[in-house]
Amino acid sequence: MTLTGWLGPEEWQAVALSLKVATWATLASLPPGILVAYALARWRFPGRHVLNGLVHLPLILPPVVTGYLLLLTFGRQGPVGALLDPIGITFAFRWTGAALAAAIMAFPLLVRAIRLSIEAVDPKLEEAAATLGASRLRVFVTITLPLILPGLLAGAILAFAKAMGEFGATITFVSNIPGQTQTLPTAIYAFLQVPGGEASAIRLVVISVAIAMLALVLSEVFAQRLARRLRQ
């Protein structure tokens, strides 16, 4: 039984879309995630606790609320949405919006993981690099970043897994349009709404679990290998 045979075209579409959404959500949230994690780990500034709280908001709020807030902000009528729409950037009801929702929901997990790795990097190595003439940015790119790779990877995979599973904020923000915004979790939800849809739902659950597990295991193995290489 081939995978394509087992899954209907719409389900197949949902798998592909979920992968795309989760991948982009993860990749796109890495740069801001690293920046925020770095700020929280290394800088002492007045709004530190507030920033930390903000980052954690999506964890605390019911996802539906996060979804509504996203809709109110990034919808066409929303302040940011209205700003971006004319220049061709639209999130609401697009797969990009699904990626945005997933990214925001996964953000606290990503930031936590990266922050911990940054805190584990010996600032003395960064000082050493500075005495050799490297600018702050160069120090970060050539020293800090490579040293936090294992943690970064772990955080990214965690974010990816979370993004694969995100439902509440996604369906609220970008709805559930097959082929456009219907991800695996929303597809599973749709099946659960339909009498007798359990079998299909279970099929999709198995697939999404398999993907996320694979990512998890691979990341563990890879992170361990990286860490071993760095062990001084």
């Binding site: 003395k124 190595l125 005495t131 003439g133 001084q232």
Partner: protein, 359 residues
């Protein structure tokens, strides 16, 4: 090249308040633990901000609290070597070495990479990772990394402290070569007397955050007033020229007319080197002793005698213009009837000097 330092800095309960000038050569910051040596290095490197003062390198202001000028570490171009080598664990030795090179200004006169690698004997390590290196190898790579960044000066904060005796003996000569072969001034922290004696051109003695004494190494180390601090350091430094190597493994040296026999030194005839003679290895005799195993018997004049608080005394000797120190017991001072201006003999075993005093 001269480094001009003047710093005031409060660190918790500790106050650093120092001012000194480090001329060319190796300036050793010497002093007991907690005297503020590392704090000075940190401030000079730009890794901490003093409350007041200035750091100037050959007239260029690296920092000055008066004018508010502050160069960040990366712009100071002071190669810094730390006690823990701080190699980048994710890079090979070669990449560690290359790290600073790309940040050096285009017009900086860097040492040729091959020469540095050669001088430090790390050619075989280039592909290795830091974690697989021994402590001594790590420090050599760290020195190379600092040098290849084309620094205007080297700062070294107890680069040998974490190493065992064998490793220390392995690294020390590299610093001597830096001092002798390169034109880069070095500010070197140590509280090990042997290191100070071998390396220092200038010694800055720190005590509780203050400068207790600054001066040429020979003068500071040969000063009975100062030496009890680091008692092992007491001793003299003789500049000597290699005259010849004898076939029985001894080298003959000449220090301003004094003839010395030492176990073979690794320099060619004609080369000059410095010899550290520890005060406690010098025996005194009123008459020239004969039929003894010690090979070096030097006619000397007593310049001063300083009685210690304990059973010891420190005798400063003039050996043909060279300064020598001898630590003997007060009882011997009395028994021998030593007095200033007296002409006596200093007896020096060749092997005493051999240990770690030649560089």
């Amino acid at each position: 090249m001269t480094l001009d330092v003047s710093l005031t800095q409060t660190l918790g309960a500790f106050t650093l308040d120092v001012a000194f000038t480090a001329p060319a050569g190796v300036t050793v910051l010497f002093g007991p633990s907690g005297s503020g040596k590392s704090s000075v290095i940190q401030a000079v490197a730009g890794l901490s901000r003093p409350d007041k003062g200035h750091v100037k390198l050959d007239g260029e202001v690296l920092m000055d609290s008066a004018s508010g000028r502050w160069l960040p570490p990366r712009a100071r171009r002071l190669g810094t070597i730390f006690q823990d080598a701080r190699l980048f664990p994710h890079m090979s030795v070669a990449r560690n070495l290359a790290y600073g090179t790309r940040f050096a200004p285009r017009d900086a006169v860097a040492l040729p990479r091959d020469r540095v690698i050669d001088m430090l004997g790390i050619g075989d390590l280039l592909e290795r990772r830091p974690h697989s290196l021994s402590g001594g190898e790590k420090q050599r790579v760290a020195i190379g990394r600092a040098l290849l960044a084309a620094p205007r000066m080297l700062l070294a904060d107890e680069p040998l402290a974490a190493l065992d005796e064998a490793r220390k003996a392995e690294i020390l000569p590299y610093f001597e070569r830096l001092r002798d072969e390169l034109d880069i001034p070095i500010l070197y922290v140590s509280h090990a007397a042997a290191e100070v004696a071998r390396l220092a051109t200038t010694v800055v003695v720190l005590e509780q955050g203050r400068v207790r004494r600054v001066g040429p190494a020979a003068e500071v180390l040969g000063d009975p007033e100062i030496t009890p601090m680091g008692s092992g350091a007491a001793g003299a430094m003789l500049e000597a020229r290699v005259v010849t190597h004898h076939p029985d493994g001894l080298s003959e040296l000449d220090a301003d007319g004094l003839r010395l026999l030492l176990p073979r030194v690794a320099r060619d005839p004609g080369a000059t080197l410095r010899i550290h003679v520890e005060a406690q290895d010098v025996m005194l005799a009123r008459r020239r002793p004969e039929d003894i195993s010690a090979l070096n018997v030097l006619p000397v004049t007593v310049r001063s005698i300083r009685m210690g608080d304990g059973p010891g005394a420190l005798v400063q000797l003039d050996a043909g213009g060279n300064l020598l120190l001898a630590r003997i017991t007060r009882r011997s001072v009395a028994a021998m009837g030593l007095a200033e201006g007296q002409e006596i003999f200093a007896v020096l075993k060749a092997v005493s000097v051999a240990r770690d005093g030649v560089g």
